[in-house]
Symmetry: C2
Subunit: 413 residues, 2 copies
């Protein structure tokens, strides 16, 4: 009994120490990613409109990097963001290894994409880098197979927690991503430690400032409001399915069309984005699109902004550019909420927040993480509504998630 | 494909309708339980001190009811609250049936316990009644075995959601209780519908008012605060283990001692409670003890209040009286937080809320539900702290949960 307690205690200590190591390293690498991304995307790109016309060449370069250095990882298959997320998820299941060089490659790819105006986020990259750092930790400490998985999960947690400034969601995301709806409780301590430490390192040590979105007013609960929330959630869910289908479709067709030549594929993707940008005449839908995303919370945005962003992002990521899908999903949901607001007289920022979260829930198939993210982003406001929106969007989006390698643990009803 | 979509849609509709039926009925029965409980416990008992001396005879009566009418359910085994919760959980696993009469028996038992001053809550009873109502629904609609489980889970959700006024937590509780850490996603729609509808029926239709506890100030996040929260959570967790061990110990010994004679057992339990009450000279630790619980949030309570409540409740429920364990766990945690506040200069109500939630998490082994309850009870305040407290208390409480029939799905690390 005494021995058993000692073992438990040393096990707990082991996970706290490993989680802290992962947290410190991932928190620091995430900060570098976020800060340099802000600098390239906001300070440089927005001041030099013409950079968008170099996007096709950035695509060539990304394709080259992936074909030259990424072969080991991808076995000559598609080499884009969703495949990278799949790789991390497969590694958690023990089917694949996360190569250490992935972190650096993802880093470079995200830089190039954001500097030249591909429509993308960066949080996905942060998560993949988290996985990459965790893989290094695994090698350094010579972990056994089960522990390897747990360390990987804590890397995902740390990446998410620090990139979004949402450590609770990060904890659960790392535990939840690998198998839908089945939380791995033995991983909670390292995941929680890594996520909170990484968040702390990013914000308190390196002083990175996350964007803050605010809901001005939450409507009083009533039967009518619940029906409106349910109806809206159905619409948000369907749009998340539309995005996922379009993106996977483009990915599939373009891979086939260019016979696995990622340089050609990304070049053509870059050309299309550049032409679309030129036609629209603004860079509202390139990069992260934070301006429109922030604007959506307080005033009207173009009614089809959501559709434009949907198409821009599906092309960018479907042709092999690199980054994250969270911010684009936020953008699509928020602007769609803004558009739908025209039809119903309820607080604007509430609609926008609801769309942001519901499209994220449907697109990523992680309803618990989406709900927690809503809590952390909006300070616990309107939690019943977000809960219902997350669940409905998740249920109706069926198995159309962004990441095919997720195991559907229980059939959705 | 069309057909498949139709099937999905009709499945969704089926669960919404069944969930609503369960919600309306359970919401109504819960209201009757809560209102009559308030009346008996607060209006009558508190005005008639001498009722406590009749507690042994109430025990006789409860024992008689259980031995005479409860045999079918309990197979001559122990017949107390935890066994009833086990029964509901076993029913979800398909190992046992929930008999319809259970609802009525639990009802009567809770009435007698609260009127004559046993230390207990009533939320457990609401959950068991929810299970009982769900069993009736199952019979009426002749459900198949898998669907039966889902209906039972939605009954648990509805009971929890309406008894606590916390529909989100109710949803997850119904899904989580049956197998620790493994959420059954196919049940989310009926559980959510039942929980929200039941909450709506209890509050908006029948106008029941839930108690409201408020956290005055949440400390700013800092490394020091996190360490304090972790330290406190360890203490809260150990006290939750102490309670569970004592209660199960009393249950085991008293069952053996009185050779399955529940009348004798509860009579002696009643005598001990009556003597303890007489010695202490107040009824602070009888019934739900709401006065002290509310006081704990704003001013000092006796430093060993938590221990007194712990002993009173372990004896009450360990000798076969009926009710719920949530409010006693709240009481124990809140007053312990109040006591510990003397040592550290942080906002009082924050300590109290933390203890309330952490002891509940450790005692019930449902960390997600405990965290969500904190959100719903305290309007999303201090969510990082509650999250950490729930996880730590859950991890350290090991397998010392209140309800033995819970399947430990994954080994805790």
């Amino acid at each position: 009994m005494q021995l058993k307690n000692n073992t438990l205690l040393s096990l707990l200590m082991q996970w706290i120490i490993l989680g802290s190591i992962v947290g410190v390293v991932v928190g620091s690498t995430t900060t570098i990613l976020l800060e340099s991304n802000d600098f390239l995307g906001d300070d440089i790109r927005l001041k030099h409109d013409w950079l968008i016309f170099l996007l096709p060449f950035a695509g060539l370069l990304i394709g080259y990097i992936y074909m030259r250095f990424g072969k080991v990882m991808f076995n000559h298959s598609q080499s884009d963001t969703s495949e990278l997320n799949n790789l991390v998820i497969k590694a958690v299941h023990g089917q694949k290894q996360v190569p250490k060089r992935m972190g650096l490659i993802v880093y470079l790819g995200t830089f190039l994409t954001v500097l030249f105006g591909g429509s993308t986020g960066r949080e996905g990259a942060a998560i993949q880098m988290g996985g990459s750092v965790a893989a290094t930790v695994n090698q350094l400490f010579k972990m056994n197979n089960i522990d390897k998985k747990v360390v990987l999960m804590s890397g995902i947690s740390a990446g998410f927690g620090s990139a979004f400034g949402a450590p609770i969601t990060g904890t659960v995301f790392g535990m939840e991503t690998a198998t839908l709806g089945k939380l791995k409780w033995e991983a909670v301590l390292p995941c929680m430690t890594a996520s909170f430490v990484a968040h702390f390192v990013t914000t308190a040590v390196w002083h990175h400032h996350h964007e803050i979105f605010t809901i001005a007013v939450v409507p009083e609960t009533s039967v009518k409001i619940f029906f409106i929330v349910i109806l809206l959630s159905i619409i948000f869910s369907l749009v998340s399915v539309l995005y996922c289908q379009l993106r996977h479709g483009i990915e599939k067709i373009s891979t086939k069309l260019f016979k696995q030549n990622h340089m050609k594929r990304a070049f053509v993707g870059g050309v299309i984005i550049a032409i679309l940008t030129w036609l629209i005449g603004s860079q509202d839908y390139n990069g992260r699109g934070l301006q429109i995303l922030e604007q959506a919370f307080t005033e009207d945005v173009p009614p089809f902004a959501f559709l434009a962003k949907l198409i821009f992002t599906a092309i960018t990521l479907g042709t092999g550019f690199v980054g994250g899908e969270a911010i684009p999903l936020f953008f699509i949901g928020a602007t769609l909420g803004n558009t739908l607001h025209a039809f119903i007289d309820l607080p604007l920022s509430f609609f926008v927040a609801l769309g942001l979260i519901a499209v994220f829930s449907g697109g990523t198939n992680t309803p618990i993480a989406a709900f927690l993210l809503a809590l952390e982003m909006f300070n616990g406001k309107g939690l019943e509504f977000f809960f219902i929106a997350c669940v409905i969007s998740y249920l109706l989006s069926g198995t159309h998630g962004l990441w095919p390698a997720q195991k559907i643990y229980e059939p959705k009803s």
